[in-house]
Symmetry: C2
Subunit: 397 residues, 2 copies
């Protein structure tokens, strides 16, 4: 008799964004003429950079001819892309990461979800609270039910400290989803030192690093001394270059990084992750990788930066509007997310904004217990829609 | 202390195609002028169909503008593609599979590798021998070390029978990789009846179904009565439409399909697979899915069929040549692979053909113990290269 992995029944049955979609559909049905503005799910709205579009057209033509046809590529990603990443994202920032420590994938969500396969079943996991649900759900699916929650609250500036943390593996995400908070170098260094001291591992999700504008805020965990021996970093083109529909990201696993077998012997993690990817993944689309390569061209850098500046302009408007309305806000400076203390129940605020303002937000409680009382407002929309939404908020609040 | 999943150390350290690549590189280095022809790895060589190229150009333009921009899509795949699949691949063949039983992915390798996550850790697995290594390795990585091997040998026409099989889950692949053999409807029906009788599950890999030309050979496991309650089917555009570099496939999980919890209660598998995909995957690229959609247009069907006919022409030449050389061959009729009994050691034949003929084959032993004594010769190459390779084989053999 075929038996199921019963851990699947231990995750919450409704995924946050599915519940939101359900309520939004109900609202639209009840009020068919309402022009609903979505500042909820963190999906980009601006088109791809022209340099990326041109590169992908060329790649499509490559695939349509015999001369430059590309079939199976290396599961780790093409060297043309990995070398650009190593140069622009790391070497030019003074960070020591080599091209062959970078594995390209079809997105950071997959990598964040799959990385836990490398760890022993009884590995103790810690995550921030509130948190991007993928870190938690993928560990629960693997039977790791007892996940330590590190409160990210106004009192600690939404950055937890390692003191007292009992986990072997800690997921950190800065700039943070959902709070929009950033971590200083000193704060990250404290985590790195703690991890190295106890042979622990950090999984650093830097999906939003391109939104950092404040000097001194680290873009990479590897800006901290010693991170090469205790940290994996994940990045994504989804928000950096509007690739949410194109699907590309990458994971950095330094050569120096090891975990341990049952006898306490070190086992290098890069070969393990490589084995995982070569066995269960067949590389990101060639067209996608050519598009990602173009993000690193001079034009690509300028164009994608301009788009992020545009979103940051939206975030500033949202932040300032809610401050004017008399709310405490976090995030929205080096992040597309503004985290608003709604002075009450998260879902009640969500429902009220949906019905009275026809604006979709994301209830903070959907990201964890410590998110109760907050709303995440996303800057991913047109300027016109953001201004209209803020105007409607102003009338309601 | 962070501990590793020690099951990773229990898989064979060298992946078959990596070893082949290593030996080919050594040969090329030793003999820099040799024009090596690759009939080894099963990668396509013909360009994409013009209708697919046009559709992907349109999709790239969609992503470059605000009006038709697509960000995150449904993790299960766009309805525009799922509905085409349900119509062309199933309804028109008289098979009852609905669009919402189809989940689109970035390739069958991922789906084949990930599907085992749904099953209890102690699930008993059976695979053919020889076999596509992904079925085995992904189960070993999950701790299922004791995998039952079902010999696929000349004596049973390379199709095992269920009698005596002790597994809960059986992976079947027809047309088969690596043997090129096909299964008759009666043979598959026997497996379906066996699975239903014992509450067992079949995972049917139909990646090569588009190569079937012999009337009566089933293209889908769902042509068998009762398969909706015992089988998952996987398909791929890699070989069907030359998508090895584009990355798209799909998995069918019928609504009626259930496994069981520890108390023996049925648990539907479609919601579990949906949960797996929505949690750990973010959908295939929009551009890729538009390309796959075009495969189902009238032109797309004709163009992709012509390309497969071309590869089948190569297969026929390979098959006939080896018969002429006095070898027993299987496959190569409804499959791009010809399975040659090399009358001796697999790797010795591989090395001899590499050195004496400068042709890369795949040693049957790389696919499992029962593949020893065989070579897999792939029809994926230009006509010119195939003819040249056969000419060189003729001089050596």
């Amino acid at each position: 008799m075929i038996r199921v992995n019963e851990n699947y029944s231990k995750i919450k049955p409704t995924y946050l964004f599915a519940e939101i979609a359900h309520r939004v559909a109900a609202r639209q049905k009840a009020s068919p003429d309402a022009k609903i503005i979505r500042l909820g799910i963190g999906d980009v709205t601006e088109p791809l950079a022209p340099s990326v579009v041109e590169a992908m057209h060329r790649a499509v033509d490559d695939e349509g001819g015999r001369e430059n046809f590309h079939g199976y590529g290396p599961e780790q990603g093409y060297a043309f892309l990995r070398e650009k990443i190593a140069d622009v994202d790391f070497a030019r920032c003074g960070i020591d990461i080599k091209a062959d420590e970078i594995l390209v994938s079809d997105g950071a969500k997959c990598d964040c979800g799959n990385i836990q396969e490398l760890f022993a079943a009884d590995t103790k996991i810690a995550v921030g609270d509130p948190v991007y649900p993928v870190y938690v759900d993928t560990n629960v699916m693997a039977g790791r039910l007892d996940i330590e929650l590190l409160p990210c609250i106004a009192e600690n500036g939404f950055v937890p400290r390692p003191e007292g943390c009992r986990a072997d593996v800690v997921y950190l995400c800065y700039p943070n989803n959902p709070t929009g908070a950033v971590a200083t170098k000193a704060q990250l260094q404290e985590w790195v030192d703690w991890a190295n001291a106890g042979k622990r591992l950090l999984i650093f999700d830097a999906a939003y690093e391109a939104f950092i504008r404040t000097p001194g805020i680290p873009h990479s965990i590897y800006e901290c001394e010693g991170a090469r021996t205790c940290a994996i970093e994940m990045r994504s083109y989804s928000k950096t270059a509007g690739f949410t529909g194109i699907r590309c990201g990458y994971t950095v696993v330094p050569e120096d990084l090891a975990a341990y077998d049952g006898a306490g012997n070190p086992v290098a993690l890069k070969p393990m992750w490589t084995r995982r990817q070569t066995t269960k993944f067949n590389g990101a689309s060639y067209i996608t990788q050519r598009g990602a390569e173009a993000v690193y061209s001079e034009r690509g850098i300028a164009e994608t930066r301009a788009t992020i500046d545009f979103y940051l302009g939206n975030a500033k408007l949202i932040r300032e509007a809610f401050e004017k309305f008399g709310y405490k806000v976090a995030g929205g400076v080096d992040s597309p997310y503004v985290w608003v203390d709604v002075k009450g129940d998260s879902w009640a605020f969500f429902d009220r904004m949906l019905v009275e303002a026809n604006v979709v937000t994301t209830p903070g409680a959907g990201f964890g217990k410590a998110g109760e009382g907050y709303a995440r407002i996303s800057a991913f929309n047109s300027r016109e829609n953001v201004i209209e939404a803020l105007d409607r908020f102003g009338k309601v609040l």
